[in-house]
């Protein structure tokens, strides 16, 4: 064998060793992560960039020539002057604040109510899991029939209590928003209950023993021990549900369709209407990006809190 050949063999072996060593170390982890990263880059990152590009154009699918005219930031400027957008932002805030606050309070109450470990209690907790596993569309349809003005159960009992809801809760201006909020509360309160139960279970017992020795009442223990200790869990749950609440679509689609008027037109639903009913793609993409920025800010907050909790 010539020297050169020998060197080639050695270098090839070295290269093979290097690869093997890399796969033994951090390289192996990178290799396990890479397929997913590439997949996500192709399916999610590219569309996001695409969405940003489209938002700078006037592009209507209904246009026979499929013209895409560059309009710069016009779509964004238009968004902040569009009264429907401003209304839908307000509607979204009411919906998110209403659902999240109610669910936080009720979820905590449920967690405290069902914290003990009996067989009955455990069975009850399991039953309460059902709503959040249901398809939101089906939930919407079921509640729509419960709310129906002519034969719905809820208007019937309300009437028996002396409350007349006219054309039904979903069709009356003042009732529609509380009605859809109640659906969300029904479906998602158990999620918070579970998160809070896990939080309660991880609390230390010592402060309670000390408080008990000092003769603190149950209410005092709740206010001065449970709530402060549970604060990290409460924060995480609050942000998580807030972001989820922004996603609402199916239930609105199935029940009110955004109405009556625009009483339940959350931003999400408005974006859908602009994009998939009016086919005004550029404008819809711009609105979607506004929504994304709101969610991104909330997500970063959420991540910062999770990070701090780890320390």
């Amino acid at each position: 064998m010539t020297v050169i050949q020998e060197r080639q063999v050695v270098s090839r072996r070295r290269w093979g060793d290097g690869l093997r060593r890399a796969l033994r170390g951090e390289g192996a982890y990178l290799a396990m992560l890479l397929p997913l990263l590439l997949f996500v880059a192709a399916i999610a990152i590219y569309p996001l960039l695409f969405s940003f590009r489209i938002s700078l154009f006037k592009y209507r699918l209904t246009d026979p020539n499929q013209l895409q005219t560059f309009v710069g930031l016009d779509n964004y400027l238009r968004a902040f002057q569009d009264p429907i957008v401003l209304t839908s932002l307000r509607v979204t805030l009411i919906y998110v604040a209403g659902t999240v606050l109610l669910e936080m309070v009720l979820g905590l109450a449920l967690a405290l109510l069902l914290a003990s470990e009996g067989r009955m209690i455990r069975g009850t907790r399991a039953l309460l899991l059902l709503p959040m596993a249901l398809p939101p569309l089906v939930v919407g349809l079921v509640w729509k029939s419960l709310y129906n003005a002519d034969f719905g159960v809820i208007p019937y009992y309300l009437k028996a209590l002396g409350v007349d809801v006219g054309r039904g809760p979903l069709a009356e201006l003042g009732w529609a928003m509380p009605a859809v909020i109640l659906i969300d509360v029904w479906q998602w309160t158990p999620l918070l209950m579970i998160i809070f139960l896990a939080g309660l279970k991880s609390l230390p017992v010592e402060p309670y023993e000390a408080a008990f020795a000092d003769g603190a009442t149950r209410w005092q223990r709740f206010i001065h021990i449970t709530l402060p200790l549970l604060k990290p869990t409460l924060l995480v749950a609050l942000l998580l549900r807030t972001m989820q609440s922004f996603k609402v679509f199916d239930v609105i689609y199935a029940t009110t369709g955004g109405g009556p008027g625009s009483a339940t037109t959350v931003l999400n639903f408005h974006i859908y209407t602009v994009g998939m009913t009016f086919f005004d793609m550029g404008y819809a993409a711009a609105l979607a990006n506004v929504l994304l920025v709101i969610i991104a800010i909330l997500s970063v907050l959420y991540i910062m809190i999770l990070e701090r909790q780890q320390l």
Partner: protein
């Protein structure tokens, strides 16, 4: 340690618990009973909760007049595809993030969390246009791919915290014996983490089965999933609530099975996916 509750308090708490269960169960109970009612009884005022004329007619009619079989098959294909794909891509990725010493790799977990928070509506326009340009509108593939993006992000996020709780020592012993990192994952860590994988899988099945928005945008009449099928089977004018209830019941079978029989895994999925940093 707890003060003993008085008899009255105990009674009050029991009453409240019963009311809570009623509130959360009555809509489902209503759905089930409506599916066994004749039309006029479903509309009866005052409502008939328990005493009504029992019939299977809604079921036979749904089977005879709607394409429920097609819708269920489509839902099954899409959920199964998205679940398998997201586990194959997500479980090793979650493991890599949990075990890697590189800060960059560790931090990439947050990238998947961010993805998880993206409202699907925000991606509607680009997804629709891209799928149209790829001529994938109305295909199973388009829905499986989109569901997988969000499903896999959840799997990574959840499996990462699950693997972090699995002790490293056994894997390290295997590595010392000359096993590769892949072998340590495949032969040691993964078998120890099957409950976590099951929890993640159940969650992902529910996600994809329940998806409505992507299906609304991307399915054709031949690939409609069950939520779309329900809407397609009834016109706005003439709705038979009995038959609709039957279709809704078919749509909630996975939810029923998982929450009633696999709830331990489900709870794990919820808490790990949501709150573990």
């Amino acid at each position: 340690m707890m003060q003993k509750r008085s008899k009255f308090e105990q009674f009050l708490l029991t009453v409240i618990t019963i009311l809570v269960v009623l509130f959360f169960m009555l809509p489902v109970f209503w759905l089930v009973t409506t599916s066994f009612k004749f039309g006029r009884e479903a509309f009866a005022i005052p409502p008939k909760w328990l005493l009504f004329e029992f019939t299977w007619r809604n079921y036979t009619e749904v089977l005879a007049t709607t394409k429920i079989g097609l819708y269920l098959t489509n839902s099954l294909i899409i959920s199964a595809g998205a679940t398998i794909l997201s586990l194959v891509l997500g479980v090793p990725a979650g493991y890599a993030i949990a075990r890697s010493g590189s800060r960059l790799l560790n931090m990439s977990a947050y990238f998947f969390l961010l993805l998880l928070m993206v409202p699907p509506v925000a991606m509607l326009i680009p997804f629709y246009l891209i799928m149209r340009d790829l001529h994938l509108l109305g295909s199973y593939a388009s829905l499986i791919i989109l569901d997988t993006v969000f499903d896999a992000a959840f799997v990574v996020w959840m499996m990462r915290s699950y693997f972090a709780d699995v002790p490293k020592e056994i894997e390290e012993a295997a590595l010392v014996d000359g096993a590769s990192r892949f072998a340590a994952f495949w032969r040691v860590a993964l078998p120890l983490s099957i409950p976590g994988v099951v929890a993640a899988a159940l969650y992902v099945i529910i996600f994809s089965w329940n998806d409505f928005l992507f299906a609304l945008m991307l399915t054709s009449p031949a690939t409609k999933t069950i939520p779309l099928g329900i809407l397609a089977s009834f016109s706005a004018v003439e709705i038979s609530w009995g038959r609709m209830a039957v279709m809704c019941l078919f749509a909630i079978v996975p939810a029923l099975v998982i929450s009633l029989f696999l709830n331990r895994y489900f709870i794990q999925g919820v808490t790990m996916g949501a709150t573990k940093g």
